[in-house]
């Protein structure tokens, strides 16, 4: 039996997987802990028709009420809210969407792959709000490049400073579909750039830790992994001020165990990592741990129809396409009632449309669905949420999870900045739709509850000043030198961008720094 492991990695998703790959390829032995089991799709899943399921495909009532993404087919892949509860003020619901299967949320994600720009990394310098990150795009760019290569990010350079170009696999088919071209031209009239999407192709359709990162780590022979163990506490040796022991509980038997580690890399996802540190009562001399919870606003948007694609006239050339409108507000000009900006996801397809888009029923509805099939265009917001000290998580003293671990209390809400941004996003989308000659069928100004984007970030923010930040620019704890937190909790601002590529780049950069520090004997 090992007396001590070199590096203990907690979490197996994108960030833990990247840490494992980088560290083991540099010859460092790692043990990875994961709170859930390894899924084997051939044993754990089956193709079924909805009528064979207990609730006819309706979401099992009350099972995961805060996971809007859940349905009866996938309900068992999300963390059960009864097994691992969390609390929030009744007037401020939070959607905490979690996966504990091995590979974490890297198993299920939308693949949008963006770089942050210095408009986000140096946001305070640009508009005076919040704080700058201690790093810039120039620091991160080499790591983005390598992460993009591993994930095979498909994209087309645009040359826009707010939408930094990357190391892209060129798209196979290049022509815009006509619907996107019309939306692009409409944008031109309003000074709104309509660009190509950027997304991870991965390998064989999957862009996950379990196929792009962890296999390389296991290949080195330096990685070992334990599924089904839930970490309860990190313990610091008072003599050295370093973490020396990690305490966990077996998910099934509830046997309590501990393991000694030279270094701990925390990669459990922003809020689980923060919960573990708060429960351990460590690494928070700044007092900012748990504060500045951020994500992105989703849910506001419009649905339209392209009249020329109706009544059986929909073709791939006309309708099969997608576009990304990167942030355009508050770059050269200043929006009147909000800071920062949002992006818009635009997609059009030859698929049938959703009945919710029609105020009709019965035969009339069926006729509408048939007529409009293949003519739909969807536009949805991804908007930056501002970081406020009072938007925070803490330990709920009155509730514990299935293993007796105190749960998180999440207290956050959107503010006028987010609501005004959502309004502008919908109004701009509508204006462009009218210019493009689309018929607008439905619109929604109201963002989904915080958390819905599954992009929670920022509760262990990085910074140069140990008095105002939890981590340094290497994602290393200011207080505890052998603790690294490589998931999204280090973010200082959220940006409008899906954070996955940034998490990967940060985890890579941090892990390389750690490896070098270990080589020099500093950690």
């Amino acid at each position: 039996m090992l007396d001590e492991v070199d590096v203990l990695i907690i979490g197996s998703g994108h960030s833990g997987g990247m840490a494992a790959k980088v560290l083991t390829e540099k010859g460092i032995s790692c043990v990875m802990l994961n709170a859930g089991p390894v899924a084997d799709i051939r044993k754990d899943a089956e193709l079924r028709q909805a009528f064979t399921l207990p609730y006819r495909g309706f979401k099992d009532p009350g099972k995961v009420p805060h996971v809007f993404q859940a349905n009866e087919f996938n309900a068992n892949t999300w963390v059960d809210e009864k097994e691992v509860p969390y609390t929030s003020p009744p007037a401020s619901p939070y959607n905490w969407v979690r996966v504990r299967l091995f590979g974490g949320r890297s198993l299920f994600w939308s693949r949008q792959s963006f770089r942050l720009s210095d408009y986000e990394l140096k946001g305070k310098s640009h508009d005076g709000f919040g704080d700058d990150w201690p790093i810039s795009l120039a620091d991160l760019a080499p790591y983005y490049s390598r992460a993009e290569e591993i994930f095979r990010v498909e994209g087309t350079p645009c040359g826009l400073p707010q939408y930094p170009d990357g190391n892209f696999v060129p798209p196979e088919e290049n022509p815009w579909c006509e619907a996107m071209e019309r939306y692009r031209k409409a944008g031109e009239q309003l000074g709104v750039p309509v660009c190509r999407q950027r997304s991870s192709l991965g390998v064989n359709g999957l862009a996950s830790s379990i196929n792009l990162l962890l296999p390389d780590a296991f290949e080195t022979g330096k990685l070992q992994a334990i599924p089904n163990v839930v970490v309860r506490e990190l313990r610091v040796n008072p003599a050295t001020g370093l973490i020396h022991e990690v305490h966990f509980v077996d998910r099934i038997s509830r046997r309590e165990m501990s393991i000694k580690a030279r270094v701990v890399v925390l990669a459990a996802g922003t809020l689980e990592s923060t919960r573990l540190l708060l429960n351990s009562k460590i690494a928070n001399s700044s007092g900012v741990m748990g504060h500045y919870l951020i994500d992105q606003i989703y849910g506001a948007g419009i649905v339209c129809s392209v009249p020329e694609a109706r009544d059986g006239r929909s073709t791939r050339e006309l309708m099969e396409g997608a576009a990304l409108i990167p942030r355009f507000r508050n770059i050269q000009t200043k929006a009147k009632d909000f800071l920062r900006g949002y992006a818009l996801n635009v997609s059009s397809s030859t698929h049938p449309m959703n009945p919710k888009n029609f105020a009709a029923y019965g035969r009339e509805l069926e006729e509408k669905l048939e007529s409009y099939s293949g003519s739909g265009v969807h536009v949805g917001i991804m908007g930056e949420v501002l970081a406020h000290h009072e938007h925070c998580v803490s330990i709920d003293k009155h509730a514990v999870d299935a293993w007796g671990i105190p749960v998180l209390h999440i207290d956050t809400r959107y503010t006028d900045n987010e609501f005004n941004m959502a309004r502008d996003a919908v109004d701009t989308s509508l204006e462009m739709a009218h210019l493009a000659g689309f018929e607008v069928l439905a619109k929604n100004y109201e963002p989904n509850p915080p958390g819905y984007s599954i992009h929670e970030l920022g509760t262990c923010r990085m910074g140069d000043d140990p008095n105002t930040s939890v981590l340094n620019k290497w994602c290393q704890s200011h207080d505890i030198k052998n603790l690294f937190v490589v998931d999204g909790s280090s973010f200082v601002s959220a940006g409008w961008q899906n954070p996955t590529m940034t998490i990967l780049a940060l985890a890579m950069r941090s892990s390389e720094h750690l490896a070098e520090q270990m080589r020099q004997g500093n950690v």
């Binding site: 084997d40 754990d44 193709l47 028709q49 009528f51 198993l107 359709g205 165990m257 439905a442």
Partner: protein, 231 residues
């Protein structure tokens, strides 16, 4: 379509996960605690000389497709009052009638299924249905002098159409009655399309395959399976 892409992605995932596990099974983690010792040929506490499990490994799977109970049995309703249930039944008939070759909500047993679904749903959803059905019935009596279950299609349209809205996913109308009309419409449609009669009415086996989704069982710890993999 999204669901099918997802299935493809996950099948790919399983292959990778499998090969990953396959590569590493032999050099697996040094367990902190020795694994449980598998029972050797110790006799089971059987009542007779023959081991209980004998022959099961050799048995062929039964040539059966499980029958869903709806195919032969009726759901016993118990949540809505008789009046509310009659209103719901009429609402199903109006909103989702049989069209072309497809069954309607009544053929698909939707009123009975919704009685069950709402009975096990959170209180706010129950309340929305109960007060929505009551109001629909009251309005029918006030406007036309008959219960909603007795209105004709034209009268039903006059009661329902003013409340129909277009809306985006996760954002149904906020007004409670508008919410009821639009959400119950969605529920009735979904319960119809997800029914066995609907599936049976699809023209081909391929159409039925298109309707399939990847259902995940509870992913429970699979210590035993891992042992099997190794052997």
């Amino acid at each position: 379509m999204q669901r099918r892409d997802f299935v493809k992605a996950m099948l790919a995932a399983s292959v990778s996960a499998r090969s990953m596990l396959g590569q590493n099974a032999p050099q697996s983690v040094t367990p902190a605690v020795p694994p449980p010792i598998p029972p050797k040929a110790a006799p089971l506490p059987a009542p007779g000389p023959v081991p209980w499990m004998r022959g099961l490994m050799e048995a062929k799977p039964l040539p059966m497709t499980p029958l869903v109970p709806d195919a032969v049995a009726h759901t016993q309703t118990r949540f809505f009052t008789r009046q509310q249930f009659a209103t719901l039944r009429q609402l199903c008939e109006v909103l989702m009638p049989p069209l072309k070759n497809a069954p309607g909500a009544i053929d698909a047993g939707v009123p009975e299924f919704l009685d069950f679904l709402i009975s096990v749903s959170p209180a706010d959803r129950q309340q929305m249905y109960v007060s929505g059905l009551d109001r629909l019935d009251t309005e029918a009596r006030q406007k036309f002098g008959v219960p909603f279950s007795g209105v004709n299609l034209q009268q039903a349209d006059a009661l329902i159409r003013p409340w129909l809205r277009t809306w985006m996913e996760d954002h149904p109308p906020a007004d409670p009655y508008e919410r009821f009309i639009n959400l119950s419409h969605t529920d009735i449609r979904t319960a119809t399309i997800n029914s066995k009669p609907w599936s049976d009415a699809l023209p081909s086996e391929e159409d039925r395959r298109m309707e399939e989704g990847l259902y995940w069982y509870p992913v429970d710890p699979d210590l035993q399976r891992r042992e099997l993999r190794r052997s």
